[in-house]
């Protein structure tokens, strides 16, 4: 087919092709990276909200809502929080990583607040304090081929898996490793420290009051009900989406103009070749499609490189934040490629029509 011959032209102008791709590449990289935050945060929060439904989350003051693992609170505050009216139960939770394993510590008896009422130990039994016992999620068990009775070494000490949670479908819960709070504090030298609190209100209506009371009366901690977390998240993602839209429009406009410009020059340079092809039997439609395809190939090629870069970029950001916050989902990949194809088609139409309309004679004169 004709486009094969046309695509060969790329090889003859490598630098120009790469530079033309650059615009789309940077554009798609930026758009995908920014969107990946909005995607990641939505996933993360939906995950969290599923578990914390109806609960009030308490973190260290000033800690951004999605970085709760960075939060550090004095355990003494638990009692004070428990005395607030409307508080039914409080779970003190410590997140720590030991030998690369992320562990959640909760005092026995309060696990159901964070697990949610329906998640129970499916196999084995619950842990007991001071016995070096663990409960793990089904996903974690499968991934590492663990079963009840197996022993895991953490910081040179042996811990026994006494229970495996029921499968929940929630990736955070299914991949969790849990031990009693006291044991985790001792293992990680965090006596008297916790990461966050989860408060179960007496009635759902109490959540707002508890949130208000904590935010007004405490200097070191802040509270958020899942409703207000949801609100702030949707506000943030809508701002991110607006930013994506602005970035995307500018990127599309600039890279579209660049591609169109290069294609017009390239068609002009190849008048003779295009005329020859028409003289030996190429139809207008074949010429049109070949040039369009060339523009789309440049654009989509740039987009693919941009998407690959955004994978690198987001993992770097996640590494710095120590949270898998930015997420390049398949939806973003497809969206980026379709968007680039659209840019290619729109910017290719004018040069392609110019090429198709060339008379074979006009073109043959260019000698």
């Amino acid at each position: 087919m004709m486009w094969e011959a046309m695509l060969r032209e790329f090889g003859r102008h490598k630098l120009r092709t790469v530079l033309t791709m650059l615009g789309v590449m940077i554009g798609i990289f930026l758009v995908t990276s920014v969107s990946s935050f909005s995607e990641g945060i939505t996933y993360f929060v939906n995950d969290q909200i599923a578990i914390t439904s109806g609960l009030v989350t308490v973190v260290e003051k000033g800690v951004f809502g999605f970085m709760i693992q960075q939060s550090e609170i004095d355990e003494d505050l638990v009692e004070e929080v428990e005395s607030i009216s409307g508080v039914e139960n409080v779970a003190a939770i410590l997140f720590e990583t030991v030998d690369g394993v992320s562990i959640t510590g909760t005092p026995p008896g309060t696990e159901n607040i964070i697990r949610g009422v329906t998640i129970e130990v499916g196999e084995g039994r619950d842990y007991e304090e001071g016995q070096k016992e663990l409960i793990i999620g089904t996903g974690y068990a499968e991934k590492n081929d663990y079963s009840v009775g197996d022993v895991i070494k953490l910081d040179e000490k042996e811990y026994e898996i006494v229970g495996i949670l029921e499968e929940t479908g929630d990736s955070g819960m299914d991949n969790s490793v849990n031990m009693p709070l006291k044991d985790l504090q001792e293992l990680t030298d965090n006596e008297g420290k916790i990461s966050i609190m989860m408060i179960q209100p007496s009635t759902p209506a109490d959540a707002d009051f508890i949130e208000q009371a904590i935010n007004d009366d405490f200097d070191d901690i802040q509270a958020a009900s899942d409703k207000s977390i949801m609100n702030s998240v949707s506000e943030m993602t809508s701002q991110l989406n607006l930013m994506t839209f602005a970035l995307g429009s500018i990127a599309a406009l600039i890279s579209g103009i660049v591609i169109m410009n290069v294609m017009i020059i390239s068609v002009r340079e190849r008048r003779r070749d295009i005329g020859t092809m028409k003289a030996i039997g190429a139809t207008n439609k074949q010429v049109l499609l070949a040039i369009l395809l060339e523009a789309v190939t440049i654009s989509v090629g740039g987009a693919i490189v941009g998407i690959i870069l955004s994978f690198g970029g987001t993992s770097y950001i996640n590494m710095i934040l120590m949270q898998p916050l930015a997420l390049v989902t398949p939806r973003l990949v497809i969206q980026g490629i379709l968007f680039a194809a659209f840019i290619g088609i729109v910017s290719g139409i004018l040069p392609a029509r110019q090429a198709a309309k060339l008379s074979p004679i006009e073109a043959l004169r260019y000698e």
């Binding site: 004709m2 060969r8 039997g281």
Partner: protein
């Protein structure tokens, strides 16, 4: 095969009208070997372009195999150029990025034939024009004579009824030019294809079976 009735062609460039053809009438029958002879600027290339459906007349009727060209749409014209006529140009007009075999296969590929089949046929035709060994060379790696052979192979690939050659030896030295003419003559002898050669070289034109002389846009013999 080709019939022109009182064909006029006027070009307009920056408001200045140039009359390339002023009422040319002629008929070329199937299987003829014809030379169109005339000084440069006489309109001989225009005549050939119009016969070959590359250009349209300002006035007059053009018939290819009895069909009126002005009544065909762009796709039909492209099909005639691809299947009925083979073109050979003075400057060879090969596609620079493609190898000899790919250039020769291009008309087949444009007609929707598969890659393997097209390349096999192209190789065969290249062998016929004496380039069986240079199929993977790019045009800039071939001599002028060789490039013109590739162009002739390309014009033959679809087994057209007529070959239209516009000054095919114009860019070649005497020896290569003679070889190209011999190739066209042999082609005519062996296959009986209609061959129309535009040239300003009287000696070469004499080898054709019929000479059509053109002067100032008019056929003079």
């Amino acid at each position: 095969m080709f019939e022109l009735q009182d064909v006029c062609k006027v070009y307009e460039m920056k408001g200045v009208e140039t009359h390339a053809l002023r009422g040319a009438t002629l008929e070329i029958r199937k299987g003829e070997y014809v030379a169109i002879l005339g000084p440069s600027g006489s309109g001989k290339s225009t005549l050939m372009h119009i016969m070959g459906c590359l250009d349209t007349p300002t006035k007059g009727g053009v018939f290819v195999e009895g069909r009126k060209v002005s009544e065909m749409n762009d796709d039909e014209l492209a099909r005639i150029r691809r299947e009925k006529i083979g073109f050979v140009f003075q400057a060879y007009n090969l596609i620079p990025g493609l190898t000899a075999i790919e250039n020769v296969a291009l008309p087949l590929r444009l007609g929707g034939h598969g890659r393997g089949e097209s390349q096999r046929k192209a190789k065969e035709v290249l062998r016929k024009v004496g380039l069986g060994e240079r199929t993977t060379h790019k045009p800039n790696e071939l001599s002028g004579g060789e490039q013109q052979r590739v162009a002739i192979a390309r014009s033959l690939i679809n087994d057209p009824d007529a070959i239209l050659a516009d000054e095919p030896t114009g860019n070649l030295d005497t020896k290569s030019g003679k070889e190209i003419f011999e190739l066209l003559e042999n082609l005519h002898k062996k296959t009986g294809k209609t061959i129309i050669v535009v040239t300003h070289d009287i000696n070469l034109a004499k080898r054709a079976h019929r000479e059509i002389r053109i002067m100032d846009g008019k056929i003079v013999n």
